[in-house]
């Protein structure tokens, strides 16, 4: 996780001007999630969390953990088909929230005649194509540039685990073990020799698939434990946890 020096802010706190990165004059300052600009020159936090600043990119955002997902464009999410209409699937991203729309034609090589048949409750891996305020978000399972699925689409077999949004973000970092502090998946694969695939959705869903049911159960328990222990759960402790889980779960 980020260096221990990053300050903790509460909702409504004004951000101290000394914290704003100034070294990079070429790029404009970009505000990420959790920050709000109140004209003329106040920066306010809207959530409680760690204030992270990146002087190189001239960005700042707040790293926080929550369970409620709010869609934003280009996020990869794992949804669940709720029902289908003439040319749309309605997809649940998180319960008790408006559903997202997934057009039948937003799949790889889908045409009016050859569109995918998905059952109710089927899990799909999709990208958020459009997300505006006051509108249902729109999803796609195909890249607009290449016309290929690029790994998106219905997820068959396996199961879906619910994790916190913070853990989902940490898992989706380019190097989750080094930057995110989540080593359990690597450890399970490398040291225990378990074979499984995962797909992480930014809406706090992790799909785990494997030939063996036991493997999926072990991975799910490891993820739940890491989620519960939070960011201070070090790699050595994770190694111990992995060993314990593999030993405990009978074949």
């Amino acid at each position: 996780m980020a260096a221990a020096a990053s300050p903790i802010v509460l909702p409504g706190d004004a951000i101290d001007p000394s914290l704003i990165p100034t070294s990079n004059k070429k790029r404009p300052l970009r505000l990420g999630p959790g920050l709000r600009h109140v004209p003329p020159d106040t920066l306010q936090s809207t959530v409680a969390g760690e204030l992270i600043t990146d002087p190189k990119k001239n960005t700042m955002y707040i790293e926080y953990n929550s369970r409620r997902y709010i869609a934003s464009p280009n996020d990869l999410v794992i949804g669940q088909i709720h029902h289908s209409s003439a040319d749309l699937y309605y997809v649940t991203l998180n319960p008790h929230a408006p559903q997202a729309l997934l057009p039948h034609l937003s799949f790889e090589s889908a045409t009016k005649k050859t569109r995918p048949q998905l059952d109710r409750g089927q899990a799909v891996y999709a990208r958020v194509a459009m997300a505006n305020k006051h509108m249902d978000p729109e999803l796609e399972c195909v890249s607009q540039q290449t016309g290929k699925s690029e790994g998106l689409g219905p997820l068959s077999g396996g199961t879906v685990f619910a994790v916190s949004l913070g853990l989902a973000r940490r898992l989706m970092l380019p190097r989750p073990r080094e930057d995110g502090g989540v080593a359990v998946l690597d450890l399970l694969a490398e040291e225990e020799g378990l074979v499984f695939e995962t797909a992480v959705g930014r809406n706090g869903r992790v799909w785990v698939g494997s030939e063996s049911v036991r493997t999926v159960v072990v991975v799910g328990r490891a993820l739940a434990e890491v989620d519960e222990r939070g960011a201070g759960f070090g790699e050595e402790a994770q190694r111990k946890l992995v060993r314990k889980l593999v030993r405990e779960t009978k074949a």
């Binding site: 669940q80 649940t92 319960p95 008790h96 059952d119 109710r120 409750g121 089927q122 899990a123 997820l155 068959s156 077999g157 396996g158 199961t159 879906v160 799909w207 049911v213 036991r214 999926v216 159960v217 799910g220 328990r221 739940a224 889980l245 405990e248 779960t249 009978k250």
Partner: protein, 293 residues
């Protein structure tokens, strides 16, 4: 009314597949409970029960009222169980769901109708004055097996509860405050507990103890058995669902008995611990006439 969120097809199929291999999502055995945790509050009759992520709070209270005219020698005992939107967004106030009706009905049958509480001891003046004991059950978090957790909470709250001491002298009823006289426990006859089995598979051949919410959404039937540690069964509720073999049901009662014995042991241990915590200094402190300065 918002509907309860359904698990995805993948999750449903996986739960079943795992159960067929004798595996559960949290690594428990099929006949194992999640870790049970009971804490008593500062007041008498306040029990907070955690069963995994399910959390139920029960609070017992008593007041003096007029008994029912058809039962002049009995006190009044009620259990009020309500599911609020805090538990899950699909629960609404004033619109009882099926879960809520079943919960209060089963608690009623288990604790009240089995005569766990001696209602005759609640009578103060025949036909005129009696104690009305009420237990309020609040479900704070719902992760399956509400019935067992709620029943344990109710029994724990009632056994922990102390009602104010009273005396009758020359037709005058006096209710003493805790400062005047130490409150007295309720007349308790036996401690019944609910044990719920969930059935899975096409024929309901897999039986599972203490199902989580995900498992409850996938199960094909359930059966709640209430009994006390002597093996006296108060009620068996098998409400709909797939028919289950009679032999399997008998095996369930055997399992239920061991579960209930461990419940009883745990509750007794917690009650003794709590009594010790309250009894600071023991009898000597009580007999001392010294004041706190």
């Amino acid at each position: 009314m918002p509907r309860e969120a359904e698990p995805s097809l993948n999750e449903k199929q996986f739960v079943l597949q795992a159960l067929k291999d004798n595996l559960r999502q949290d690594g428990r055995d099929l006949d194992a409970y999640r870790p049970l945790d009971l804490t008593f509050g500062d007041e008498y009759g306040h029990a907070d029960v955690k069963l995994g992520k399910t959390r139920v709070l029960a609070k017992a209270s008593a007041e003096v009222t007029v008994p029912y005219t058809d039962r002049p020698l009995d006190g009044i005992f009620t259990i009020a169980a309500e599911l609020s939107p805090m538990t899950s967004p699909s629960f609404e106030v004033g619109r009882p769901t099926e879960i809520e009706v079943l919960l209060s009905r089963l608690l009623e049958k288990t604790v009240r109708r089995s005569g766990a509480l001696d209602t005759e001891s609640l009578c103060l003046v025949a036909g005129q004055k009696c104690w009305s004991v009420r237990v309020d059950v609040h479900v704070l978090s719902h992760d399956g097996n509400l019935i067992d957790a709620a029943c344990f909470a109710v029994v724990a709250a009632l056994r922990h509860f102390r009602k104010p001491d009273t005396s009758m002298e020359a037709g005058v009823l006096t209710v003493y405050t805790p400062a005047e006289r130490e409150p007295v426990p309720l007349g308790w006859l036996h401690s019944p507990f609910c044990v719920t089995f969930s059935f899975f598979g096409d024929e309901g051949e897999i039986s599972v103890l203490d199902a989580t919410w995900l498992e409850e959404q996938v199960r094909v039937g359930s059966c709640t058995i209430s009994l006390n540690r002597h093996g006296e069964i108060c009620q068996i509720a098998k409400l709909g669902g797939t028919p289950v073999e009679a032999v399997a049901l008998i095996q369930c009662t055997q399992l239920a008995l061991t579960a209930v014995r461990s419940f009883t042991e745990y509750l007794d241990q917690k009650l003794t611990e709590d009594a010790k915590r309250r009894d600071k200094g023991g009898l000597l402190a009580e007999l001392s006439a010294e004041n706190d300065r």
